[in-house]
């Protein structure tokens, strides 16, 4: 049920995530390609990276990434090459730029806010009880009782 949408990816083509014929001979290049693939989204899939996806387009993108790496691109250049052609959409880790800043700082900000509110609340609760200790009249009454 829940992952019905993943089906869409599998529907695309009955192939297999990373194929043996895609693998580069140089293990260092291959390791970089795998790492980059994990951060790039398969454009027709639901939350799957091109490294995990079985879709045809994911295979094309994997090969493209490897071509760029073999051509001597740095990691950033290779990713930029893909993003130029397929858009920001393929980045699984959103950039920090512009409005995305909100996304990144939302959690930490909320934590600070909640901690602040929590501390204020606890402090207030602690103080609110103090005056209740004993009022003037109660003090007087207490003295009376003690003297009796």
């Amino acid at each position: 049920m829940k992952r019905l949408i993943l089906v869409l990816c599998l529907l695309a083509a009955p192939v297999f995530a990373v194929q043996p014929d895609e693998v580069l001979d140089d293990p260092a290049f291959e390791a970089r390609a795998r790492e980059l693939s994990k951060g790039l989204r398969c454009p027709v899939c639901q939350s799957e990276s091109i490294d995990e996806s079985n879709a045809e387009i994911a295979r094309d993108l994997r090969i493209l990434v490897r071509e760029r790496i073999v051509a001597g691109d740095s990691d950033e250049q290779a990713v930029a090459f893909i993003v130029d052609r397929y858009g920001e959409y393929v980045l699984l880790r959103p950039t920090f730029g512009g409005a995305n800043l909100v996304l990144w700082v939302a959690g930490p900000l909320m934590l600070l806010g909640a901690l602040g509110m929590g501390v204020v609340y606890l402090r207030k609760r602690g103080k609110a009880r103090l005056p209740e200790a004993l009022s003037e009249a109660e003090q007087a009454r207490l003295r009376e009782i003690l003297e009796e």
């Binding site: 049920m1 829940k2 599998l10 194929q19 990144w104 606890l122 609760r125």
Partner: protein
């Protein structure tokens, strides 16, 4: 004929639910006990009527009644019986019917077991529950009727999605729904309490078991889903952070927060309004989850446009119930005066911190899930928020939570000395850090994830043990063990659940840090080596299943010349739906899983084979089982069996100052 009866029963249930929503609510307002008394039989009638129509739908699937549109679209005569039955909820209409069935089951349970509740509270709880039922029954009847007939019944159906023909996934939705819908009880109790204007320990004692049960079901449901993803999707991922998964994870986090702060209300009569708010939010996230899944709005904006009616309907339900409840909350929360007072260092404060961390973690998941939608609507940017974001933004909060957990469990109520609470934990802490350092030196050039996971696991599991040991008093170990066995089940539940989280964290860290993978072309008869294991591809055959054809490999795993396992990974094709699925073969062990996937035939006559050695992966689910078990232990604690609601008449005691 019987199908029409079932349809009629559903309409009747809708009318009953409306009556259940209105009459007892008015009765409680007017203090009219006969009107309030309507709630109970109405809840039972609603449950029986919906059960009947669900049973009829199941019967239609089992007998392959192809005059029903839903059966045609989702079933096939060649399907095994199990999947004919699970096919009932393997589609939109049937799954919503299951949703409502479970909702009415919870309502009926509250009517059965609610004899001890104050009559006005019970009437109001059942009325709120009835109104949720009415809303969803209207949703079924007006937008997703499962009982539509076909004018010309075909000879056979179109079959169930092959991915759903799997035991793991077959039982994943019912458990998730039990969890989602279980939270509706907490919601109904919260709204009823807001209307009553009263929250006390007895109320919390009622709410907590419902929340706990919902949380246990959610835990099992989520674990089943992730286990399914692990063995079915063919590369061994266990969590994708996709919107549909997040939709179930957010209520889980909030429910975890809720069941912790309900303890504070129950034991100390503090944090009342916060508990109410959490109960509203927990169900709000459940509805949001239902909306996300059912409307498909986050899967693709176009899916929503295809079926705007359903999405809008659920959005309206969400707006009315959560909006209404929050408005009521804003108006009435001030009346929930807290009684218990506590110092800055106390178990209450630790639980507040737990709530903050869990709520913020849920919020991060929420923002990340909704951000693509917000960015597209407001900034016209089409972007993705995927696993790398969540791993970076979510993990710190959970690590922080794990760090405070053993300390919080040992702090006494009201007022505590940190040094005293830490006394039994120093040993655990030293052990955790020392082991992490050892792991760090043994692994070379890998991530810090492994050592951190090890340290957290030891800290949590050791902390849970120290917690139990601490409560067993002093004296000889044998006496202490005896006393430990007799501790309240709630204590065992806490220790199990907290320890379980540690085990799960260890499994996740182990898998992410130390996995080995190999992709290669293997000839038949060839042996290759991955991470010290020798793997042989003996044979590949075509096999015919009941409703699929399969390419099945026969592979042997051995180490040092000794055979460990014979595995048969498959690639299946379901002809009815023309869809391939991968059936990975897994040799599960204590310290590692060996995970084999067979791929396509290559030009040179070899087969593509993927091999993974996944260390400690089984621990992920072992931990979730422990967590669920902990919940069950806590649920069967004596105070719920004996005292639930029995002390309702007891007047709330006056607060005891902490200072």
């Amino acid at each position: 004929m019987i199908t029409e009866l079932a349809h009629f029963a559903l309409i009747l249930a809708f009318l009953v639910a409306i009556a259940q929503a209105i009459v007892p609510m008015l009765g409680a307002y007017l203090r009219n006990s006969s009107w309030m008394g309507v709630a109970e039989p109405a809840a039972l009638a609603q449950f029986l009527l919906i059960s009947f129509s669900f049973a009829v739908l199941t019967y239609a699937f089992v007998t392959s009644d192809f005059s029903l549109r839903l059966v045609v679209l989702n079933s096939h005569t060649a399907k095994p019986l199990l999947y004919k039955i699970t096919g009932v909820w393997g589609n939109h209409e049937g799954s919503i019917l299951l949703w409502v069935l479970i909702l009415s089951l919870f309502g009926a349970a509250a009517a059965w077991f609610g004899g001890n509740l104050p009559p006005t509270l019970r009437a109001r709880v059942l009325a709120v529950q009835g109104s949720i039922g009415a809303a969803f029954l209207a949703f079924i009847l007006f937008t997703s009727n499962p009982f539509l007939r076909m004018a010309r019944p075909p000879m056979n159906g179109e079959g169930l999605n092959p991915l759903l023909q799997d035991p793991g996934l077959a039982f994943h939705p019912p458990f998730l729904y039990l969890g989602y819908v279980g939270l509706s009880m907490s919601f109904s109790f919260a709204v009823a309490a807001l209307i009553e204007g009263r929250v006390d320990a007895a109320w919390a004692r009622w709410v907590r078991p419902w929340t706990l049960a919902a949380w246990v079901f959610l835990t099992i449901g989520i674990a089943l889903g992730s286990w399914w993803a692990y063995y079915e999707l063919g590369w061994g991922g266990f969590w994708f952070w996709d919107p549909v998964e997040n939709a179930s994870f957010m209520p889980w986090l909030i429910a975890a927060a809720l069941l912790h702060c309900a303890i504070v209300v129950e034991k100390r009569e503090a944090l009342k309004s916060w508990t109410i708010l959490l109960a509203i939010l927990a169900f709000g996230f459940s509805l949001t989850g239902t909306f996300i899944v059912r409307s498909g709005v986050l899967t693709s904006v176009h899916a929503f446009a295809n079926d705007p009616e359903r999405g809008l309907f659920i959005l309206m339900i969400l707006g009315v119930f959560i909006g209404g409840a929050l408005t009521l909350y804003a108006a009435r929360a001030g009346a929930m005066e807290a009684k218990g007072v506590f110092a800055l260092v106390s178990r209450e404060s630790a639980l507040v911190l737990n709530n903050i961390l869990l709520a913020v973690a849920a919020f991060v998941v929420f923002v990340g899930t909704m951000w693509p939608l917000v960015a597209e609507l407001l900034f016209d940017r089409k972007l993705s928020v995927g696993a790398p974001f969540f791993n970076a933004a979510f993990t710190p909060f959970i690590v922080a939570l794990a760090l405070i957990m053993p300390i919080g469990a040992l702090l006494p109520w009201k007022r505590a000395k940190l040094a005293r609470a830490m006394a039994p934990l120093w040993g655990v802490l030293v052990l955790a850090i020392a082991t992490a350092a050892l792991v760090w030196t043994m692994q070379t050039g890998r991530s810090v994830l492994g050592p951190v996971g090890v340290a957290l696991a030891i800290w949590l599991v050791g902390g849970a043990m120290a917690d139990l040991l601490q409560r067993s008093g002093r004296g000889l170990l044998i006496h202490r063990l005896g006393r430990m066995m007799r501790l309240p089940r709630a204590d065992w539940g806490r220790a199990l659940a907290h320890g379980g989280l540690g085990i799960t964290m260890f499994g996740i860290a182990g898998l992410m840090a130390w996995e080995s993978e190999e992709i290669r072309v293997a000839q038949i008869g060839e042996t290759f080596e991955v991470a010290g294991y020798a793997i042989t591809l003996n044979d590949v055959q075509r096999v015919q299943g009941p409703n699929f054809s399969s390419t099945r490999a026969d592979m042997t795993v051995s180490r040092n010349g000794r055979q460990l396992a014979r595995l048969k990974p498959e690639k299946r094709v379901y002809p009815v739906s023309q869809m391939p699925t991968t059936e990975a073969a897994i040799d599960s062990g204590f310290s590692r899983d060996i995970y084999l996937v067979i791929g396509d035939l290559q030009a040179d006559g070899g087969w593509a084979v993927r091999t993974y050695v996944k260390p400690f992966t089984g621990w992920i689910w072992a931990g979730t089982i422990l967590m669920a078990l902990g919940g069950l232990f806590s649920l069967t604690d004596r105070r719920y069996r004996v005292a639930a609601g029995a002390r309702r008449a007891k007047q709330p005691q006056s607060g005891v100052p902490a200072e």
